[in-house]
Symmetry: C2
Subunit: 356 residues, 2 copies
Amino acid sequence: MTELTGPVQVIGAGLVGTSIALALSRSGVKCVLTDDNPDNLRTAAGLGAGRPATADDRPQVVVVAVPPDHLGAVIRGALEATAAYGAVVTDVGSVKTGPLAEVSDAPGVERYVGGHPMAGSERSGPLAASAALFDGRPWAVTPHEAAGPAAVDLVEDLVRRCGAVPVRLSPVEHDAAVARTSHVPHLLASLAAGRLAGAPGAHLTLSGQGVRDVTRVAAGDPVLYGQIVSANADQVLALLTEVRDRLDDVIAAVGDRDRPALEALLAEGVAGTRAIPGKHGGPARPTTSIFVSIPDSPGALARLFADAEASGVNIEDLRIDHDPGRATGLLELLVDEERAEHLLTSLEAKEWVTHR
Amino acid sequence: MTELTGPVQVIGAGLVGTSIALALSRSGVKCVLTDDNPDNLRTAAGLGAGRPATADDRPQVVVVAVPPDHLGAVIRGALEATAAYGAVVTDVGSVKTGPLAEVSDAPGVERYVGGHPMAGSERSGPLAASAALFDGRPWAVTPHEAAGPAAVDLVEDLVRRCGAVPVRLSPVEHDAAVARTSHVPHLLASLAAGRLAGAPGAHLTLSGQGVRDVTRVAAGDPVLYGQIVSANADQVLALLTEVRDRLDDVIAAVGDRDRPALEALLAEGVAGTRAIPGKHGGPARPTTSIFVSIPDSPGALARLFADAEASGVNIEDLRIDHDPGRATGLLELLVDEERAEHLLTSLEAKEWVTHR
């Protein structure tokens, strides 16, 4: 029972549910779909995600992909409906302990294994779905203590068949992890962004790439993030209390003109940025930024990347810096420290204006 | 006297000072250089930034580009040294009211007009300098009340000759603006990043693009940012107090499970992200993200941009999403909402794996 052969029933044909069905269909696993909204069901089926489920279907795995508030009830219902033939049930909710508490006394709970794909989109609904949504992304698999080992294996196989990388964590660990890496950063971005609302326009003219990066996630839907944060309230509160203590330390250090204390607090932030795993999960290789001026027109980027390709240097990361007031952009390229000089020389030879 | 004809004396041949001299030299304005460090002076001169200044030079403008702690004394010295022929003196410090307070009783202070180019680099020193550093960037020009109008015009002309866009603000307004758009976002990013230091490695595996963006600026040098924040202590404290009040509101809303209050706080953040001026200073045009899977090798980006060019759709912004665990990347392209469908179709026709 540890290998996924199908069929898989997906309950909830929104962005994530439909994407899972598309990804599994791509890998040859048959899917059937359930959704209260007949339009969603028709759209998802039309995209090739699978046909609507019937009472005769006997899914090997049920994937519950409904909004946070309904997870517990739908997981419980799926365990009950599949009791006769023992299907494994998983879900994709962004918080894990709450739904688990709702189903922990359900008959067959050993067949439930929680999950959380770290992928999404600013858009929602089946029309935004894609078989490639999970490619290369982490997907938390969060077995509770009573979960059957074969059920866990099967869910991890489903994750891999979707193109994602399973990361096994307990439900409590998962919720602590997303509070730290997602919910609290989101709230702090929102606090920084909130200070910009209503500021004089001339002041905002001085906004650079830094404040744009810090505040970008704060543009997300307040209703959705309100649900997510509320569902993880305890873990979020524990960290927010820590943040408030540290903020008080910052205020004291700035107010007292205590430079060493302020530097120590800033150094803690530097250490935090270095703790984030590097690209491809490995340790971060030393990289250097180089900057290239580019005209803001179709073609310039293509020419630049063709020239960069000719140099043989791999671009690790890139960003376009926004330039108010004129139609040029500044492209920042992150490359291996030891290859930066070679790339600079190559681009300059092709008359690009570069600097580090 | 309102047109810049030169020569310009730059005091402090570090990254910013040398870049100013290179940019002015590029536009045909002669520069002379002063620095306590003979190595810096030799390097800057060798790059073509100008020759070392002598006692016989009579600069039209003196640009003071020394570390924050020395600005007041050096500006005062420059006003005194050029009193006989009335040179205009400007500086490039990132905080404006402090140095002004130090020179406001100096003879000739009407010849001083503060400035602050919104450009820099993670590197420092003359070797990192570039004539293109200021191209298209905002450069705050911050005249005090006693500043002569001709002196202000001349500094704005210098800013334009460096390729930058002058933004006129009073010194107090400037410091309030950078507290809001730079110093406080930096401190909040640092607080978010500080929570990652020492977290279990498995938890950090769930880090996505969001937390990377929020915390990126927190990687900056703690000593430098400690200086900058300290120099703007009053403005920073006023905003940090506001942030603490709002953080208390967030903690109360999460603790009380008060969804509407939490949503209102998050909505304030959304409004803030919309207040940041769009690219090229204009109002933000509606854009849509599309995502393309790319193999992580030289050549893939060049091919992709060549194909995007062929579609005729302009790329407004882009970023590479980091995928742990496998050697593919996900490229996010921001394009005009109305052109997204066309670009998707064009890329899919060339067999790129795309989704929205």
